[in-house]
C-alpha cells in the first residue's frame, strides 16, 4: 500500500495535540462521588492510547523517510499531482454559503440557487456551454429542495 509519510506525521501530530487538550480538560473533572470510576478515566485512557498509537505511526514514518531520503522527494510525492483548485473552490464556496445562511440575509431557495449556479460554473471554468444546464440544475435543486422540505416533508430549513 502506498505510504504517505508526510501526511501521517502531520495528521498524527494534530491528533496528539487534540488528545493532549482532552487529557488537560479531563484532568479538571472531579472524581466520581457515587460510582467508582468517575467521568475522567475513560477519556484519559482513550486519549493516552491514541497518543501512543500516533507516536508509533510518527516514528515509523520518520524511519521510512530516513531510509529513503531526501525529504524533498517525499514532500514532492505527496503534495504535488492533482490540482487542489476544485477542492478549495468546493469547500471554500460551501463555507461562504453556510456563512451567508447563518447571516440570514437571503431565503434558502435564492441563496442555494446562487450558490449552485456559481459553484457549477466555477467548476466548469465558466464555459458558455455549461451556463444553461447549470442554471437549470441550480433552479431545480435550489427551489426544488426548498419546496420539497418545507411543503412535502415539513422539515425546517435554515433561513
Amino acid at each position: 500500500m502506498e505510504q504517505r509519510t508526510i501526511a501521517e506525521i502531520g495528521v498524527c501530530s494534530l491528533i496528539i495535540i487534540f488528545c493532549a487538550v482532552i487529557l488537560w480538560q479531563a484532568a479538571k473533572l472531579p472524581p466520581g462521588s457515587f460510582e467508582p470510576l468517575g467521568s475522567a478515566p475513560v477519556p484519559q485512557a482513550t486519549a493516552g492510547i491514541v497518543i501512543c498509537c500516533c507516536l508509533i505511526v510518527i516514528v515509523r514514518a520518520i524511519v521510512q523517510i530516513r531510509r529513503q531520503p531526501p525529504l524533498a522527494h517525499h514532500v514532492r510525492d505527496e503534495l504535488t499531482g492533482r490540482s487542489p483548485r476544485n477542492a478549495l473552490v468546493m469547500f471554500g464556496g460551501t463555507l461562504a454559503y453556510v456563512g451567508l445562511l447563518q447571516l440570514g440575509m437571503l431565503s434558502f431557495g435564492v441563496l442555494t440557487f446562487a450558490f449552485l449556479l456559481l459553484l457549477i460554473m466555477t467548476l466548469n471554468r465558466f464555459s458558455k456551454s455549461s451556463l444553461l444546464p447549470a442554471t437549470i440544475t441550480a433552479a431545480l435543486f435550489g427551489f426544488g429542495i426548498e419546496f420539497l422540505f418545507t411543503r412535502v416533508f415539513v422539515v425546517d430549513l435554515p433561513v
Binding site: 492510547i49 492533482r82 453556510v98 416533508f153 422539515v155
Partner: protein, 496 residues
Amino acid sequence: MDLNALFVAIQQILSTHALLMLLLGTGLGIVVGAIPGLTGAMLIALTLPLTFYMTPFNAVVLLVSMYVGAISGGLITATLMRMPGTPAAVMTTFDGYPMARSGRPGRALGLGITASFVGGLIAWVVLLTITQPLSILATRFGPFEYFSLIMMAMVLIASVSEGSLVKGLISGLLGMLISMPGVDPASGMPRLTFDWYVLNGGLQLLPVLIGTFAVSQIIADALDIGKVSQNSKVDSRGVLMSLADLRRHALNMIRSSFIGTWIGILPGIGASIGSVVAYTAAKNMSKTPEEFGKGSEEGIIASEAANNATVGGALIPLIAMGIPGSVIDAILIGALTIHSIQPGPTLFLTNADIVWGIIATCLLANIVMWLMMTSSVRYIAKLIYLPRSYVLPVVIVFCVVGSYALNNTLFDIWVMLGFGVIGFLLERAKIPLGPFVIGFVLAPLGEEKLRSGLMMTAGDITPMFTRPFSLAFTLAAVVLLVWPLYNDWRRRRATA
C-alpha cells in the same frame, strides 16, 4: 422463528406506502451505488433526516432497501469503468472490467447481478434463522459481557481495516473520544465541553456521519473532477444467467455467500473484506486460477455473492446485540435511536414489528434489486457518466440540509464541515474511516456498560475475567490485538 410475524411484515411492506419506500430505496441505492464517489453510507446518512416524519417501519424499509441497492449498484461502475462504485465492489473490477472490455459487458453484469441476488438470499436465510436465538443468548449478557464484546469488536475492526492495526486503532479510539464531550451519562454533569454550552448535548451522530463520509468524499472527488471516463455501451445480451450457468457456478456462489455472511456477522467488518476473502477462496479452489484478474466468471461471482451476503450477515449483530456489523449498520443504529428505538437483544420483545420489517425488507429488496438491475441495467449504466461538477454541488446542498434538519441548528452544519475536513485528512494519512464511525457509535454504550458494571461490583473488575462470555471476548480481543503484531514482528525478523 416466527414465520407468521415474517409474513405479516411482508404483507405490511406490500401495502402502498411501504412498497413505495422499498422501490424508491432500492432504486436510489442502485443508482447512488453506481455513481462513482457517491456511496451507500452517504445516501443513507443524507436520507436519515427525511425519515423523521415517517413511521419507524417505513423508515427502516427505506434505509435497509437503500443498503441492499447500494451494495449491488457498485458492480456497474466496477465492471464498466474499472472504478468500484462502492468500496465493496473493488474485487469485481479485477474480472468485471476485463470481461466488459473483451466485448461482453452484459455477461459480466449479468453474472454479478445474479451472484448478488443469490448472495443476498443465502445471507437472508441465515439472518432469519440465527438472529432470534442469538438475541435470546445476548439477553443473558451483563454489563461486563457487553463491554468486553464492544472492546473485541473495536479491536477486530482495527485489525482488519484497511492499513495497519495501529491506524485502525487510532481511528476507532479517536471516534470514541469524539463521542465523549457532553453530559456525562453517570453523573449528569457536563464533560469535556470547554465551557461551551452548545457542546452540552454532545456532538450529534448525523452531522458527524455526513461530514466524515459525505463531505470528505466530496472534497476528495473534487480533486478528480475533470477526470473523463471512457464510455462503454451496454446491451441486454447475457444479462440473464441460464440454468446451466447457475448449475456450473452453484458451488462457488454458495461458498462465497456463506463466507460473505460470516464476515458480515463479525462486528465492524464490511463488505470489502468479505469480497476479498471470497475472491481469494474462489481463486485457490478454482481449476483455472490463471484466469483470475483477466475476466474470470468465477471471480465476478465470488466477489459479488460475498459483498451482497455481508448485508444480511451484518444485520445479525445489529438486531441481536445492537452492535453494528458495518459502517452502514452504525448509521442504521443511529436511525433507530432517532426513532426512539433502542437496538439490542430486547428489540425482538420491544419492537418485533421493526425487526421483522428489517428481515422482510432484506428479502424483498434483494428481489426488487434483481428485477430492477436485470431489466434496466443498460439505462442505469448511463447515469454513471453524469458530470461530477454538477453532481457534487447538489450533494453538498443535501449535506447542509441533512445536518440542519436533525436539531434545526446551524451549529450542526459547522460540525459537519469540520468533520468533512477531519475525514479528508484521515484519509490522506491512510487512516481508515470505518473504525472512526463505529467507535463513535459504540463508545457511549461501552462506557455506560463498564461504569454500570463497576457500580454493581463496587469497583471490582475481576468479573470481566471470571464470567465465561466476558472472558472469551476479552481473550479474543487480546489475540486479535497481539496476532497481527506478532506476524509483523516475525515478517520483519525474516526480512532482516
